[in-house]
């Protein structure tokens, strides 16, 4: 790599599983990964061999996700997966990958199963860590005298995130005055806000996607809750377009950021943006999940570059991927690792951002998240020297 010449050898096949349709377009990560691999191919490839990269859309359908996973696993010419971002596929895919010795450096994990799998390791921290991190910040600022959360009821996501937040609250003696559960198919934001209003909270954490958060904030403003309450959200609200959409009255709104701020001028972050500019499309999102796809592709590329180019097979790549540790990037707070375990959550140190002057700016730099549920992960990091 770095030759400036197009790679012409026999291609190395890498794939990803992502949810790109079915109501959610979650393809930021594989889109950024696509741009990264295009750049690799234009610059000498993996020691002369180009990467043949593509992602398959599970269309938010669990059966389809399992079928795609089986197809990817059966194609032995696919050496590894990188930049995956499936909303519903991890639980079904992992046993298939495990049997086929196929490993995924996942870009974005959302559901619990993406973080509790042997062959899948996400770059991002996940919504549970993101939620705990936000509560941790609010508590440190003394805003949690009457803490409330608003979550959705999607199993394996909404309950899992709230469980993390509740465990932390119990551990740190934070009083949760209300948990509003939104039916994932319901359109009514007003009723949830009325529930919150009754509870008279000091701070609210929204554990939901950006469009729902906007609807909740609008209803909250209408009910006069904007000034009285500190409003916050998971990384799902950390999106460059969010401040403009909620409007100037939401200055001070807090969101967690699982990775570096998207407009940071650090070397890796600038490289991500430059590669998207040159090899991506203007429609590729410049968001946190794009960053994670970029890192997934980069980490796999760095791993492949260390292998004998004539001996890049699923077996050799699997061994190399499992052995990843101490991979650093200014997009992350701490080094990233894969390792051999049934649970992967290497990223558990996050940042906080706040809306100021019509855009998100950093509110707090890297801070380890004190989720009591991370104890086994941290113990393993210390035991195996993974934290670097």
């Amino acid at each position: 790599m770095g030759t400036g010449e197009r790679a012409t050898g026999s291609p190395i096949k890498i794939r990803a599983l992502a949810t790109a349709s079915g109501g959610i377009d979650f393809s930021s990560a594989p889109r950024s990964a696509t741009a990264y691999f295009k750049c690799v191919n234009a610059n000498g490839g993996i020691n002369g061999r180009p990467v043949d990269y593509a992602y398959e859309d599970d269309a938010l359908n669990q059966q389809k996700a399992a079928q795609i996973a089986a197809k990817l696993a059966a194609d032995r010419s696919i050496v590894a997966l990188a930049g995956d971002a499936t909303f519903i596929g991890c639980a079904g895919a992992n046993p298939i990958y495990k049997r086929a010795d196929l490993y995924s450096i996942t870009g974005t994990g959302v559901a619990q199963a993406c973080f509790e799998s042997s062959n899948i390791a996400p770059i991002n921290a996940g919504p549970r860590i993101s939620g705990v991190a936000t509560l941790q910040y609010l508590q440190a600022q003394g805003k949690t005298s009457r803490f409330a959360q608003a979550r959705h009821n999607i199993p394996g996501v909404g309950d899992w995130v709230a469980d993390g937040v509740e465990n932390y609250a119990k551990d740190k003696k934070v009083r949760i005055v209300e948990t509003v559960v939104r039916d994932a198919t319901s359109v009514d934001a007003n009723s949830g806000i009325l529930e919150l209003k009754k509870a008279d909270p000091s701070a609210v954490l929204i554990e939901d996607v950006g469009p729902v958060a906007v609807a909740l904030l609008k209803a909250a403003a209408a009910q006069g809750l904007q000034e009285k309450v500190v409003w916050s959200c998971l990384t799902s609200c950390y999106d460059a377009g969010f401040p403009k959409q909620v409007g100037p009255q939401w200055e001070g709104f807090i969101a967690n950021s699982e990775l570096q701020l998207v407009d940071a001028k650090t070397p890796d972050n600038l490289q991500w943006r430059t590669i998207l500019q040159k090899y991506g499309s203007p429609r590729d999102p410049r968001d946190t999940f794009g960053q994670s796809g970029f890192l997934a592709a980069k980490f796999l590329t760095d791993t492949l570059l260390k292998l004998d180019p004539k001996d890049i097979t699923r077996e050799t790549v699997a061994k190399a991927v499992v052995g990843i540790k101490g991979f650093k990037s200014d997009i992350l707070c701490t080094p990233w690792y894969f390792g051999s375990a049934d649970r992967h959550n290497a990223n558990h140190t996050t940042r906080m951002a706040v809306i100021k002057g019509g855009k998100y700016v950093e509110l707090e730099g890297c801070k380890p998240v004190e989720d009591p549920g991370l104890a086994p992960v941290i113990a393993r990091e210390q035991r195996d020297g993974l934290a670097g």
Binding site: S21, G23, I24, D25, N153, V180, V181, D183, T185, S186, V187, D188, A189, N190, S191, G192, L194, E195, K197, K198, G210, P211, V212, A213, V214, A215, K218, A222, Q223, G224, C237, D239, G241, F242, Q245, V246, G247, R283, P285
Partner: protein, 288 residues
């Protein structure tokens, strides 16, 4: 204690009702149950949003959005209406499902599912009702639902076009022999229905979320409202829409039911169907 939820439910329910009335007028005139109704609303909202982002004047953005929904509906009705006229109701409905999926696909492709919000000028003004703040959009939704229902009922009864629409609903061929300009009247129904769909989409985007999928599935509560109106009565459709909206909202404070609130349209529709069938004897015969 439930009053705030009733008010919130009435506002959203009004839009279910409004959509139900729009769907019903089209159904009664052309026999088409337009399942693309929500998708047309989503299209209106997203086009308006796009124009507003580009700095267009508000009235212009909303007019173009609603006009686009009306235009798309008219185009579909004019192009496919004659081919569908003699087909069974289920074929007509399925054809409109195709339109819904095509619109939804196009909207998702162009606008993706990024965070967006559409705030009508009426969203920031309002009044206090006890502890509850009621926005002008919420009041407008209810007023519009009642006015459009009453206006449509009056129009169908009193005007020549309305009479023609009712005649078409009863017998298409006979009406045509009696000199009713079938194509024109049907096109008018498609246009009016699309426009009402566009207005409902705009108001719903303000009161709920601006995402293509959410607004497209607005068609489900609207259908439930039509079931309450037995696909005939405008007044009962209005009531049905409001009922679904209120039921959805009042379930919020009760943990045991709040997870199932979005089942309200189905519960209402099933209850009405069962009630209407109460005196019917069902005979189960063996297939020979």
């Amino acid at each position: 204690m439930l009053e705030p939820f009733i008010v919130a439910g009435l506002a959203v329910g009004s839009l279910y009702a409004l959509s139900g009335v729009g769907m019903l007028v089209l159904y009664r005139t052309t026999g088409v149950l337009n399942l693309a109704y929500g998708a047309l609303g989503a299209m209106a909202a997203l086009i308006s949003w796009q124009l507003l982002q580009g700095g267009a004047a508000e009235w212009f953005a909303y007019a173009v959005g609603v006009g686009a929904a009306g235009g798309a509906s008219l185009l579909y009705g004019a192009a496919l209406g004659p081919y569908l006229a003699d087909r069974e109701p289920v074929v007509k409905a399925t054809a409109s499902l195709g339109l819904a999926l095509a619109i939804l696909g196009a909207l998702n492709w162009y606008w993706t599912d990024d965070t967006r919000t559409l705030s009508l000028p009426t969203g920031t003004s309002g009044f206090d009702l006890g502890d509850l703040r009621v926005s002008t959009t919420q009041v407008l939704a209810l007023l519009l639902a009642v006015l459009i229902t009453a206006g449509t009922a009056l129009y169908l009864r009193r005007s020549t076009t309305g009479t023609s629409m009712r005649a078409l609903a009863d017998d298409r061929e006979l009406s045509s022999m009696l000199g009713v300009r079938v194509r024109l009247i049907e096109s008018l129904a498609w246009l009016a229905s699309g426009v009402v769909g566009g207005v409902s989409g705009l108001l719903l985007a303000d009161l709920t979320q601006l995402t293509a999928v959410t607004l497209t599935f607005l068609v489900i509560p609207a259908l439930a409202a039509c079931v309450v109106g037995r696909f005939a009565s405008l007044g009962w459709t209005l009531f049905g829409g409001l009922l679904v909206g209120v039921l959805e909202a009042v379930g919020t404070p009760y943990d045991w039911i709040s997870d199932y609130r979005s089942a309200a349209p189905f519960v209402v529709a099933i209850a009405v169907v069962l009630y209407l069938q109460r005196h019917r004897t069902v005979t189960i015969g063996a297939a020979r």
